[in-house]
Each structure stands twice: as C-alpha cells, then as structure tokens.
C-alpha cells in the first residue's frame, strides 16, 4: 500500500509538471506580466482588469507580426473607447528596432519589451513557440481565446465587451 501511495504521488507530480509546461489554456487566470514600456515605466498586465485585453507577443523582425499590427490598428481604434485594450510584448533585443517599428506601424496601444528573443523570460513563462501569438483576456483577467484573427477576433471582442 505504501508503494502504491508513492506511485500515486509521483503520478500527481508528473501531471502537475506537465500542466506547468503546457501553454496557458482557456479559462485560466492570465499570468502576471510586468515589463517596461517605451518611456521606461513598468506596466502591469493586471492593471488592465475591467477591460477586454488582447495580449500580443511579437517582434519587429517578424513579418507576419507586422502584418497583424496593421489590422490591429483598425480594430483598436474601433473598440478602444468601449474598453478594449492591447498589451503587446515585444521580444526584440534592440530597443531601437522596437521603437522604429512602433512608429512605422502607428501603434498607440500599450507596448512593453522583454529583450532576449526566444530566451526572454516572459516568452518562456508563457511557453511561446512562435510569433505572432496572442491571447484574448476577459474583464476578469481570464484567458478566453488564443490566436484569434480577423472577423473571429472582432466578434469575440464585441461579445466580451457586452458582458
């Protein structure tokens, strides 16, 4: 019986480690992110509670991310006043490149930087394996969607804003 119990504990431990490694899933509370913005002030993801938030991982050198930025600019201007916010985490090593991309893409939403590319701490914590990767977060700070684009994203944002 003792051995049995040990095995059981091991099993639970393994399950737990798998859960820790897995990508954050829907229904879970968004893990805290606190990173410096362009001005250098630290901006917390949790400070946006009460808003519908799109958490977006990107980098200036990522072509598909830049393409997505163009679409997000439109979405943001449309729903910003209703309580929609975007929290973009760049994994750029170069602050200069990051800044240039923000200006060029005309981004006015929250931008923070975690230098280090794939080794950036936030990228590891959130188990980011490709960019762009985005999460939709509801007013209670819970993850409700991942990698939504275009119409699907807009519908989800509209829906969450109305709740």
């Amino acid at each position: 019986m003792k051995i049995h119990r040990k095995n059981y504990l091991l099993f639970v431990f393994i399950l737990f480690s798998i859960a820790l490694k897995a990508q954050p899933g829907p229904g879970k509370q968004a893990m805290e992110i606190a990173l410096p913005s362009l001005s250098g002030d630290t901006l917390k993801l949790s400070s946006l509670k009460g808003k519908v938030v799109l958490l977006d991982f990107w980098a200036s050198w990522c072509g598909p991310c830049r393409f997505s930025n163009k679409k997000l600019v439109k979405l943001y201007s449309k729903y910003k006043s209703q309580g929609f916010e975007i929290y973009s985490v760049s994994i750029d090593d170069s602050r200069g490149d990051w800044k240039k991309a923000i200006q060029k893409d005309k981004i006015t939403w929250i931008q923070v930087n975690d230098a280090g590319g794939w080794d950036a701490r936030t990228a590891i914590t959130w188990n980011i394996t490709g960019i762009p990767t985005s999460y939709l977060i509801n007013k209670e700070g819970k993850l409700v969607g991942m990698d939504l684009e275009g119409k699907d994203l807009e519908e989800a944002v509209k829906d969450l804003l109305g709740k």
Partner: protein
Amino acid sequence: MKKIIFLFVLAVITSTLQAQFSRATLQASGLTCAMCSKAVKVALEKVPFVQEVKVDIKNQQYNLVFKEGNNVDFDALSKAVEDAGFSVASFKATGNFSHVKAAKDSHAEVAGLNLHFLNGNDENLVGERTITIVDKNFLSAKEFKKYASTSKHACVQTGKADGCCTKEGIAANTRVYHVII
C-alpha cells in the same frame, strides 16, 4: 619507452583536437518565416554535439557553437532543421585546418569528415578557416544547381564518394561533403 609512447599518444590527441570544427552559421528557410518560430532553435539545440545556438536576427541566421572534443556531423544539423519543418538555405562551418590543400576537386579529411573542394587556388589552409557546404539540403535548390553544374563529377549530385574520390582512397559511397572556400 613509456615516455615515447606517452608523447606519441599526446601528439595524436592534440592533432585530432586541432582538426575540429568549432562553430557554424546556418540560415533556414521555409514557407513561413523561419525566425518567427522557435522550432529551428530548439531542434538544433537537441543535436548532441551542439553546445549553443544563438539567433542572430540582424543576419537572419543561427550561430552555432560545437562542443569541444566531439566530431561533428553536418547532416544531423540539416536533418534537425528539416524535422522542424524548414530547410537549410546556407551553411558555413569554421574549423582549424592543419595544412590542407584547397584546389578544384582536391580532397581532404578534416575532423573525421571527407571534404571535396569545388574551388581553391591550390591554397594551403592553415589555422582557422570557414568553408561553405554546397551539398543538397545545405542550400536552396537553385543554388545547388549552380554549384553542381561547375563539376562533372557524379559525387556532387549524390554527396557520396564516386570515381574521383575513390581514386584518392576514399571508399565508394562514403559521405563526402562538397565545399567551397
């Protein structure tokens, strides 16, 4: 006598240590943005003789450092990139050469690998030098054709020892890397 044997062993060890590839640069390409995925980096890190993989965004390449004292296997790197869903678009390896003659269609064994030079001005390679591998799976199909057309030898197409290589004592069908310097 013991001393002589010891010195001999030491000499053999140091000479094999010297003839080593220490690092490489690799570019990957695919249908989607290769740098936007962590897959290539992770796959390369899993190759046993790879010590470190750094993503070099500016040059759009991966900078690899090999473990000391290990013979490297370039094909394993190409396979790792392919298994990650991408292909190698450029591969340059840097190693220590001790008096290797580089001339068109000259052969050399360096760090346990058979090299077949597709160019070179009869240069005597000494010390740290960088070679570019131009075998299939190490560059784009278009570029491979370009290099393959510069040689009449069948081994350039297959990457396996053929007529010109076996003449120099390399067993037929042994893996031969075609390189330019």
